[in-house]
Symmetry: C2
Subunit: 274 residues, 2 copies
């Protein structure tokens, strides 16, 4: 089993180099959480495309075995053997179970899930909400506001997922809600940290220039906005993050706009469509 | 409009005294988050019962107008005018909208919701999960574990709600997930604090003896366990909290048991029934 753990923007390049050396039948488990800009492909889709170009799935050579592993997994805690959970996602139930067995330990509980689209999309899109959560932290807006943000953020990324054929249960599960929570509350998170510095008035270019690791949520914000347009899904929080990151909108103005939308019922059609 | 803001255990006594003075047609908005022990009634049900005994809803006197207001509303933050959201719950849409108007401000966004059962049950049962979250904090288990707990906790309280006729969307909304998140992460929360002290090895009786305010989650744990039995719903986290609080079970043993259940798929029937 091979773990593909490079940030989304490097996946294509890495697998172009590695693809030729991959033994037939060796499963690849992707743990990247992003959407490739321009192509709007998920990590396992990028790997599949590159491997197909390298001859897999053609001329009698079997298609690559691909799965995704995702969940509330802040690395610093995993490194200390603190208890955590994750989801092994693959439409092929047998492979999902193999990944589950390979990664399960006493302190790491792995569930299987057939919905690879949902698991990868949730893992990517929650980073956009995490930037918004960081912005609230930077503005010192408090936990009531952050809890509302996570709740409404989950609604809008689930809505995109449903439009793309993912299962709502995936977004309510560990790779959706679970990962969203840990990313929005853990101080270590890179995406939340970018948001916090934005909320304190720093410029995105200055923040990115001083970071020594990749904040996937920044390019993912562009990708998710494009997906929202393509699938005609309303995503007010993602739109607000996009406006703050890339259109020069003031963070307080964006928050005020979100808070002052028309009063409305919470559930029913409105939860799903607005 | 009258706000009923006393802890659940005092509601019956307070409204027995007040009931006779309540002007006909004056709406009562309950913000209590609990389940009355013994009767297993929700706060608005207790008020209705007491008022009916005082003559409302009988002999041509109109029934009392009752609504619930609930959401991620840590009081210390509301007092500082930090942005927050809530749900005004009432089957009578007109009354729900009146409550929404009465409480809405620029910094407090109120949604309406017809599902009073779900809103009150979510507000009560999330306090049990908050005690569990505190226990994890006391054990220094980390945010990955807490995110998993909140995710699985929401699954089990939603399951109870569904069995009792509540709407799943309510549990995914601000009065469910939203309130659950802020209660589990805000250091101020009384229920989370009780759990944290349990996790650090203190005894429940000693903790309660030193608290000058009510931790509703402690009696609510008994009530929710009884509801789980009555409606035949599996609630492993609630059961673990009950065992730690009232049956002398060690917190680490309870956590280990939860982490070492049989490996299983995340979604599908298992999400709903186990």
């Amino acid at each position: 089993m091979v773990l593909s753990a490079v940030p989304t923007q490097y996946i294509r390049g890495v697998w172009k180099r590695l693809g030729g050396y991959l033994p037939v039948g060796l499963p690849i488990v992707s743990v990247a959480k992003g959407i490739e800009n321009e192509t709007l492909l998920r990590p396992t889709e990028v790997i599949r495309e590159v491997l197909n170009q390298a001859g897999f799935g053609q001329l009698g050579r079997p298609a690559p075995l691909l799965a995704a592993l995702s969940g509330p997994n802040i690395a610093a805690e995993l490194a200390r053997y603190l208890p955590a959970t994750a989801v092994a996602a693959c439409a092929d139930e047998d492979l999902a179970t193999r990944v589950q067995s390979a990664f399960s330990t006493q302190w790491f509980r792995v569930y299987t899930n057939a919905d690879t689209v949902g698991v990868e999309l949730a893992g990517a899109s929650k980073n956009v909400i995490a930037i918004a959560a960081g912005i609230l932290d930077g503005l010192a807006a408090g936990n009531n506001a952050k809890a509302a943000l996570v709740t409404r953020g989950l609604v809008e990324i689930s809505r995109l997922g449903a439009a793309m054929g993912a299962q709502p249960a995936t977004f309510a599960g560990l790779a959706g809600l679970g990962d969203l929570i840990t990313t929005c509350v853990s101080p270590e998170g890179r995406n939340r940290t970018v948001g916090e510095r934005i909320g304190k008035g720093q410029k995105l270019a200055d923040i990115l220039a001083t970071m020594d690791s990749v904040a996937e949520g920044v390019p993912t914000t562009r990708a998710v906005m494009q997906l929202a347009h393509r699938y005609r899904v309303e995503m007010p929080i993602t739109q607000a993050v996009h406006a703050v990151l890339f259109e020069g909108k003031d963070a307080i103005d964006a928050l005020t706009d979100l808070m002052s939308r028309d009063p409305k019922p919470e559930s029913g059609d409105n939860t799903v469509t607005r």
